[in-house]
């Protein structure tokens, strides 16, 4: 178990299984006691997850046991046909994409993919895409646009990979091109941040008509560790940075950056991946229904206005002599 909040519930779990064993061995009915303990476990756990600090949620969002893009693909979609390659350089394992059927509709699914073991993580580069990943994503978005099919993206990355090859092949250009492409894409786009939404590498597939976030996902301009290293001069202050950056789903809902939070089962998505997938199915389905049959030109205009409205500023009179046009 990667997340320490679970440790305190181990004792309760053990007591429940002990009771079950005793009941079976002795052939007596102890279901009331068992139910009582289960309820206690459930409510304490719910409370614990409500009380999580922002940095607890960061750790939770990164948990290796959480459902990844391909897990949701398996639970939510049928007729999956994965498509590969950017037609320029290579096929990036950190971004997967392909056709799928969702609620009777063909959709293009694109998402960052992490790995659970070392072998898979090497193939997936720990979910940190190279430029060819963003270019593959862009190619698949245009493919969806060509056939008037909606695009569903799932965000789950620490960020775009900071490496020599990534820079040589234009990481910044690849992301920038996707931002512009998505802003003008004449087909519906729905995004869900399912784990970690790491900076530009996350946004590179997330300029959408609807942006959803799993309850324990995070989305941030910089990793709390990176921010702490710069502003607090120590990565150990990541907890402070996470609080200051306001990276959780409720924070982002309040800031007007996301449209809805997808509730996770008690204990988080990894505690019950099927329940998590069920919740995502519901919320994603509702939002897709609302945008799926809209006029593409209207959609693009509304999407643009949605992002134009983001930000906060005030107005004040500049001092005399400051203007450049005098």
């Amino acid at each position: 178990m990667a997340f320490d909040a679970e440790e305190k519930f181990e004792e309760l779990r053990e007591r429940i299984s002990d009771l079950k064993e005793t009941a079976e061995e002795r052939g007596i009915d102890m279901s009331d006691q068992i139910r009582e303990l289960r309820d206690r476990l459930e409510s304490e756990r719910e409370q614990a997850y409500e009380d999580l600090s922002r940095y607890d949620r960061v750790k939770l969002a990164r948990d290796q046991d959480r459902p990844f893009t391909l897990d949701y693909v398996e639970h939510l979609f049928d007729d999956w046909v994965e498509l590969h390659g950017d037609r320029r350089y290579g096929d990036d394992g950190a971004i997967v994409g392909g056709w799928a059927t969702f609620r009777g509709r063909s959709v293009m699914v694109i998402g960052q993919q992490r790995g659970r073991d070392m072998e898979e993580n090497l193939k997936r580069n720990f979910g940190s895409p190279h430029p060819e990943g963003y270019r593959k994503a862009g190619r698949l978005m245009e493919l969806a646009e060509k056939f008037g099919k909606p695009v569903i993206t799932m965000v789950d990355t620490q960020g775009a990979y900071p490496g020599i090859g990534a820079e040589e092949r234009g990481q910044a250009e690849a992301i920038a091109a996707n931002l512009k492409r998505m802003a003008g894409l004449r087909t519906p786009l729905v995004t869900c941040v399912i784990g970690e939404g790491g900076s530009g590498g996350a946004l590179g597939i997330a300029v959408a008509d609807r942006v959803l976030m799993m309850e324990n996902a995070i989305y941030s301009v910089i990793s709390p560790e990176g921010c702490a290293a710069i502003l607090w001069r120590s990565r150990d202050e990541a907890g402070k940075a996470a609080e200051a950056l306001k990276v959780t789903a409720p924070d982002l809902l309040e800031l007007g950056v996301i449209d809805e939070i997808v509730p996770e089962p008690g204990g988080g998505a990894h505690a019950d991946p099927e329940a998590a997938a069920g919740a995502l199915d519901q919320v994603l389905g509702d939002h897709l229904e609302e945008v799926a049959d809209r006029d593409p030109e209207e959609l693009v205009e509304e999407r643009r206005e949605k992002f134009y409205a983001m930000g906060a500023w005030e107005e004040k009179e500049p001092p005399d002599g400051a203007r450049l046009d005098r």
């Binding site: 775009a160 990979y161 900071p162 490496g163 020599i164 990534a166 820079e167 040589e168 092949r169 234009g170 990481q171 910044a172 250009e173 992301i175 920038a176 091109a177 931002l179 512009k180 998505m182 802003a183 003008g184 900076s199 530009g200 946004l203 590179g204 300029v207 941030s220 301009v221 910089i222 990176g226 710069i230 502003l231 607090w232 402070k240 200051a244 950056l245 306001k246 990276v247 924070d251 982002l252 800031l255 950056v257 643009r304 992002f307 134009y308 983001m310 930000g311 906060a312 500023w313 005030e314 107005e315 004040k316 009179e317 500049p318 001092p319 002599g321 400051a322 203007r323 450049l324 046009d325």
Partner: protein, 278 residues
């Protein structure tokens, strides 16, 4: 250098001539002692080693346009503090300090001017304002500049100098990347030219949005240009970076920019491009 001492004033060619002969600066790169007047005349490029001194937004605008800005836009926009962000000091204090040191307008100045008599919309970033970082004000000003260019049918020129997105505005800073890219999509759709000029340094969220979206991308010589900063890359891969990595010349070699143009020739280069693209 007068731009740094009197940041709130634009340096016209008349003012440059007023600089006395005996004021001098030292080149950070080659160590040569240079007369300030000579340096100003050479657009703050070292005549000895070609090092491009970092200059304020006003300097770039002055360098590119016939006579500065005819109209400056949105100078009254000032950063709010949407997250109540505080590290070693509260974000609003940082902003006030930067406004005092650099001037109003946050890290980008925008407006309308002329290049060889052709009306253009131009923006220039100022690295001195919190590292040229992009928060809501920078994103909004760039977006409004693009929208105004769209209405006027003017070419768009943006000079970038930025360390990336502004951490103190959190996710709202990240969203400015989407906002500015969306605005440039409209410029593209309208068939208007956008020339992006990269100066030292241009990294992070600005590079990964409007800086790399130019129809034509020019860079000053020797500028650091990249997505991730060299320190982060070095830390991640655990090895030294190759000589010249992420410099303008490296980007040209890898097909990421169109041309490297020394600052004194920048106006002429842009003017010629606009001749072809309008």
């Amino acid at each position: 250098m007068s731009w740094f001492k009197k940041p709130k004033q634009k340096l016209s060619s008349e003012q440059k001539k007023e600089l006395p002969e005996d004021v001098w600066d030292k080149c950070d790169e080659c160590g040569e002692i240079l007369y300030s007047r000579r340096l100003a005349e050479n657009r703050y490029v070292c005549p000895e080693c070609d090092h491009h001194f970092r200059i304020p937004a006003a300097g770039h605008i002055d360098n590119l346009t016939d006579d500065g800005l005819e109209e400056e836009f949105d100078l009254e926009l000032s950063s709010a503090d949407p997250l109540d962000f505080e590290d070693s000091r509260p974000y609003p204090k940082r902003i006030r300090q930067a406004e005092e040191d650099v001037g109003p307008g946050d890290a980008v100045r925008t407006g309308r001017g002329e290049i060889d008599g052709r009306s253009v919309h131009v923006g220039a970033m100022d690295f001195r304002f919190i590292g040229g970082s992009m928060g809501s004000v920078v994103g909004e000003k760039v977006r409004r500049l693009a929208t105004s260019a769209l209405d006027a049918g003017d070419p768009l020129i943006i000079v970038s100098a930025s360390g990336g997105a502004r951490m103190q505005e959190g996710i709202l800073s990240l969203m400015q990347m989407a906002k500015t890219a969306a605005a440039l999509e409209q410029i593209d759709e309208a068939g208007l030219p956008y020339v992006s000029i990269l100066t030292h340094p241009t990294t992070g969220g600005v590079t990964a949005s409007y800086a790399m979206l130019g129809d034509v991308i020019l860079a000053e010589p020797g500028a650091l240009i990249g997505f991730a900063g060299p320190r982060v890359i070095k830390q991640t891969i655990g090895q030294d970076l190759p000589e010249g990595f992420q410099r303008s010349e490296f980007l040209l070699e890898h097909g990421m920019i169109d041309r490297i143009v020394p600052r004194p020739e920048m106006k002429e280069a842009v003017s010629l491009l606009l001749h072809h693209m309008t």
